[in-house]
């Protein structure tokens, strides 16, 4: 029997090289089975996405695609969806979020999974980093020539994909689509979060400060939030430090003056793309990118700047 204010069922899983957290409230009457069924179904869906889309397993479908010399390759619906999400992210950000930078990422030192590897110290890395400058798109980038059709992908010979954040956003969206029949839900794939539910109750969203200053919080009833930053996937190199956010124009890690960006958007794929683009663009352009849906950026010195609707939301929740 459904009770008003029934607590949400919670489940935590390690996937996509991060922690996944599912929260599902009571089923809306006559629209869905019990939330335990939903949590198990969503977990299976996310595990399938991870198995197909990870680049750290040579037997995943993504790895097999990247190793395939053919120009046109048959692919599953899951991989097709993730590739479309990555191309949409590239379009949305005018090429700043580029899915064709796997080689550059490997050269920077991110050729294998960093799960269980402690990140380098962010403050120390910022002290030794090169002069800050905004990242720029790569002219003539290969992603423009990628075509994803029903059951196939066609791409320039030799092009390899890193789906990274867009795969997480796409997985969160796919999971959230299974939960439309519940009073409340949240799908959190390593900080890329979709929230919603038929009860329409707003949920508190906390933005963690990467340098340990005060966290921010605001309320969101429906939509997506994503955060991109340098703090977790950062490592020492013989020359200094490197991280996983690559400037498409140089092929090197981007040091832009922003250490973390959070975006609010209608979907997780959009939020993820906008957060990454805001970080890559630097402080001023980054705020402009976040203006429409709202967001937060954190500068190298820890200063927090708010953009768009988030400005009011954060203040009212304080």
């Amino acid at each position: 029997m459904r009770q008003p204010g029934e607590p949400e069922l919670e489940r935590r899983i390690d996937l996509f090289g991060t922690e996944v957290r599912l929260l599902v409230g009571a089923p809306t009457p006559r629209r869905a089975p019990g939330n335990q069924v939903a949590v198990l179904a969503v977990e299976q869906l996310l595990r399938r996405h991870h198995a197909l889309l990870t680049r750290f397993d040579s037997d995943s479908e993504l790895s097999r695609l990247n190793a395939d010399p053919r120009e046109e390759v048959p692919i599953s619906a899951v991989l097709a969806g993730a590739l479309r999400a990555a191309l949409n992210a590239a379009e949305l950000t005018d090429g700043l979020v580029d899915p064709g930078l796997l080689g550059q990422l490997e050269r920077a030192g991110y050729g294998s999974s960093r799960v269980g590897v402690a990140p380098a110290d962010l403050r120390e890395a910022l002290l030794q980093a090169p002069p800050r400058s905004p990242a720029r798109r790569r002219e003539g980038a290969a992603w423009h020539a990628v075509e994803v059709g029903e059951g196939f992908v066609r791409r320039p010979p030799g092009m390899r994909f890193d789906l990274g954040g867009s795969a997480k956003g796409h997985a969160a969206e796919s999971a959230a689509a299974c939960l439309r029949g519940y009073d409340s839900f949240a799908v959190d794939v390593g900080g890329d979060i979709v929230v919603g539910g038929n009860a329409g109750a707003p949920r508190v969203v906390v933005v963690e400060h990467p340098l340990g200053h005060h966290d921010l919080s605001f309320r969101l009833g429906r939509g997506a939030i994503a955060t991109s930053g340098l703090g977790r996937r950062i490592w020492r190199t013989p020359d200094g430090f490197a991280h996983h956010l690559i400037d498409p124009s140089t092929g090197e890690p981007a040091w832009t003056g922003v250490v973390q960006a959070t975006a609010v958007a209608p979907t997780a794929v959009e939020a993820e793309a906008l957060a990454k683009a805001a970080l890559l663009s630097g402080p001023d352009a980054g705020l402009r990118i976040l203006q429409r849906g709202g967001g937060v950026i954190v500068l190298d010195d820890g200063t927090v700047r708010l953009a768009g609707p988030a400005t009011q939301a954060v203040r009212s929740a304080a």
Binding site: R11, I13, D14, G25, D183, D188, P202, V206, V207
Partner: protein, 82 residues
């Protein structure tokens, strides 16, 4: 000069006033007593709304999943660099 009817109503109004007073006293005792019992049991209702916003403790180890936990709905979520 009071009528027969008025005289018959006077005792019932006194009784009604006494009843209302008794009910008010009983409600006050019940509320105070209930609150005292809750607080003696370790639950401070004034802290309930704050507790609802605390991040759930604990996380699973690599490759494992934790399940079956419940939170007050809707629980808070945390977005961070991953």
């Amino acid at each position: 000069m009071p009528t027969e009817n008025a005289r018959s109503k006077r005792p019932s109004m006194v009784a009604m006033t006494a009843k209302i007073t008794a009910i008010a006293v009983a409600v006050a005792i019940a509320l105070t007593g209930g609150l005292a019992i809750q607080m003696a049991g370790g639950h401070d209702p004034a802290l309930a709304s704050k507790a609802k916003h605390q991040a759930p403790a604990g996380s699973s180890s690599s490759g494992q999943a934790s399940g079956g936990q419940t939170n007050s709905a809707p629980a808070q979520v945390v977005t961070r660099t991953s």
